[in-house]
């Protein structure tokens, strides 16, 4: 395997007496879909927060493209190519879908301290934003206010915004959260289409989707990574079954 794009080593975070991230180490290679699964409360979202820069770990290192990013804020990491989608949809409701994506294009194309020209009329921004929307199948809805999109469409828009950033790594925090069966199918199709083009760290509850998409899976239990391997091995791992899959079957 080539040198990893994202290398997490010895990451620790405590909330009071509770170790939510307990000596977590793993890596994501270029072009790889690496899924992180774990029961509720395992610390998946906390981990994403630390990777994206909204929470500061107490110890450990996060190297992205060979650079240490622990001291950087979210905006800085985003400019380096670390794009994050949110578990709870976070779009700009009063902006059109196209403008939502165009803002992300704008962030990496030249200065935004420009005061005179109409941003909405900038071909360069709009074309790339449109391409991102089309990539997730939202091209026909470009002119619709994001607040008026259906839940599934908002999930697609989340993805489109992340893609419009032309990221090197996508951090997807439960991209299927709250989606119905049809929406899930569509979103999984979109994610499959991204395989190989982007490195993806996928945190997801939907086991079927995870085992269908992931190249490797890390299992997080009580803040610790108990196993990292290819899906077939993870599925057979007794400890994982006990900690997680068994619980799912029981439910």
């Amino acid at each position: 395997m080539a040198e990893a794009l994202l290398e997490v080593a010895g990451l620790r975070k405590r909330f009071g007496g509770l170790a939510v991230t307990d000596d977590v180490s793993f890596d994501v290679a270029a072009g790889e879909i690496h899924a992180v699964i774990g029961p509720n409360g395992a610390g998946k979202t906390t981990l994403i927060h630390q990777l994206s820069g909204t929470l500061r770990p107490e110890a450990g290192s996060i190297r992205f493209g060979g650079r240490e990013v622990v001291g950087m804020g979210m905006a800085r990491r985003a400019r380096l190519g670390l794009a994050r989608s949110f578990q709870i949809t976070s779009v700009l409701p009063g902006f059109s879908a196209l403008e939502n994506a165009a803002l992300a294009v704008q962030a990496r194309c030249g200065s935004s301290f420009r005061f005179l020209r109409m941003a909405a009329a900038e071909r360069g921004l709009n074309d790339e934003a449109m391409a991102a929307l089309e990539q997730v199948g939202l091209g026909a809805r470009a002119g619709v206010m994001a607040g008026r999109l259906s839940h599934g469409e908002k999930r697609q828009l989340e993805l489109a915004i992340a893609l419009a950033m032309r990221p090197r790594l996508l951090l997807l925090d439960e991209p299927l959260a709250g989606a119905g069966p049809e929406e899930t199918e569509r979103l999984v199709g979109i994610l499959r289409g991204l395989r190989g083009q982007y490195a993806i760290l996928l945190v997801e509850h939907d086991m079927q989707a995870v085992f269908a998409l992931a190249d490797r899976i890390s299992v997080l239990v009580y803040g610790r990574v108990i196993a990292t391997d290819v899906p077939a091995v993870i599925r057979a791992n007794a400890e994982v079954r006990a900690a997680y899959l068994g619980e799912d079957e029981a439910a």
Partner: protein, 302 residues
């Protein structure tokens, strides 16, 4: 922008429609100047989501710049205007650098505190009349010409600058800069997640709004040929904020509609009764309760 253009057209025609005498023109100048200050405040409140309760300080600093220069007999607009806008913009930049680190109620309180600081400073300037204020020697000259003494010229100057402020602000809101600003108002987390840190954008907007309010202060000083610390009082900041909310945060033209509505209502009630505040206050409360989206919202629905 249609309603605002109708208002501007009405203001342009007013001198020829029986509002050409001194008293009417003084009132209309006040309307236009406060509308300009309201437009600059709208950029902050409606555009950036920064609810400032200290905007009168920018207006007052512009006016006091006129006073300070008048005192040393510098009265030409070519010097006064840049100095006043620069002073107000600089004050906004410095206080904004601190204030914008906070948000919500804290931002309101800290802008109020800076505004009061400026107010008490102005009150203590004995050389410029302290609490009693300062009467100017006369209006500014423009490149040596005494054009502004003419009421009509002053009327159209105010109108022209209001139109310029309105169009300029509209343009800024639509630019890349304005898009970041508006996006950060809607969802700060989303803006950071795509790679923007909102702080510098907000700070620049705050300074620009301050400079424009400073220009309004220059006009206000020249309109009345008198400047007092009350220009900077927090009540005036409250009035400006009210104009913006009365007009509506849905569109920039709300600032103009709000200012016109506010000043004319105040004036009309003042003629009706000595106790006009007893009516004005409840009317303001009712307008907030029942005019959803402000005057702009009413026009949209109507």
């Amino acid at each position: 922008m249609r309603a605002a253009l109708v208002v501007l057209a009405a203001l342009a025609a007013a001198p020829f429609l029986g509002f050409g005498e001194g008293y009417s023109l003084t009132l209309l100048a006040r309307v236009m100047i406060l509308a300009m200050a309201a437009v600059s405040l709208w950029l902050l409140v409606g555009g950036a989501g920064l609810v400032s309760l200290g905007h009168a300080a920018m207006l007052g600093i512009g006016a006091y710049a006129v006073v300070v220069l008048d005192d040393v007999r510098i009265t030409d607009a070519a010097v006064v205007v840049p100095v006043a806008m620069g002073a107000a913009g600089l004050f906004a930049l410095v206080t904004g650098a601190v204030a914008i680190r906070t948000s919500g109620v804290h931002f309101i309180m800290i802008t109020l505190a800076f505004g009061q600081m400026a107010f008490f400073t102005a009150s203590s300037l004995a050389a410029y009349g302290g609490d009693d204020g300062y009467t100017l020697y006369g209006r500014m000259t423009v490149l040596g010409h005494r054009w502004l003494e003419d009421r009509l010229v002053f009327h159209y100057l105010c109108l022209g600058l209001l139109a310029l402020a309105l169009l300029g602000t509209q343009m800024v809101l639509g630019s890349r800069f304005g898009r970041v600003l508006r996006a950060a108002r809607e969802n700060e987390l989303r803006v950071e997640a795509v790679g923007f840190s909102p702080y510098p954008y907000r700070l620049v907007a705050y300074a620009v709004a301050g400079a424009v309010a400073g220009l309004a202060g220059v006009l206000l000083a020249n309109a009345t040929e008198f400047v007092a610390p009350s220009y900077l009082a927090w009540q005036r900041s409250g009035d400006l904020l009210f104009m913006v909310i009365l007009g509506g945060l849905g569109s920039l033209q709300g600032a103009v509609l709000g200012a016109v509505g506010f000043v004319l209502l105040e004036e009309w009630l003042g003629h009706l009764t000595e106790h006009w505040r007893l009516i004005f206050g409840p009317l303001l409360v009712l307008s907030v309760l029942f005019l959803k989206g402000g005057l702009v919202g009413v026009l949209r629905r109507g």
